[in-house]
Amino acid sequence: GAGVSQSPSNKVTEKGKDVELRCDPISGHTALYWYRQSLGQGLEFLIYFQGNSAPDKSGLPSDRFSAERTGGSVSTLTIQRTQQEDSAVYLCASRSPSYGYTFGSGTRLTVV
């Protein structure tokens, strides 16, 4: 597609429930990133996928967070047993060598 697509755009969930966030990167971009932005804060790196290489998971805050990328395209970020501190905007980006990173519009997650 023309840009990075994320769904849902908003998600309200009860504490303790699991959530799945989806990212559809720009076609042909092999690199995909997840970031998190808490209210009024900068962006915090979560995880990085590059082609068929093992993902860089160094930014995942706990083992409740996991992500996968199927077929080198769509990625899903899963948060298990959500906590209130997980409330944030989750941003996905894909990268081209010449243009750099393009971000999606994000998923605003609210845990109540």
Partner: protein, 110 residues
Amino acid sequence: GIQVEQSPPDLILQEGANSTLRCNFSDSVNNLQWFHQNPWGQLINLFYIPSGTKQNGRLSATTVATERYSLLYISSSQTTDSGVYFCAVKSTGTASKLTFGTGTRLQVTL
């Protein structure tokens, strides 16, 4: 890891004024980008500029990689320029991620 500092943290301008935003970083980089996050939260890629100078309309950016800083110039500011401007860098030699600065929050008033 690499440190990224942006200044000023906050800036209020009257419409039509010019401004310069600065990004300092603590290590050599092979990727530097400037982003504008609009009031609706969308991050817009302004410049991919690991070195040199680029211009796009009223905006221009310069990165002096050897001195580890980048500048974003906004000329003839408009209210639509309001939002947060982020500088993000990737260290030379490290695997993957962009590290973001804390941003400059710009408000352009009439």
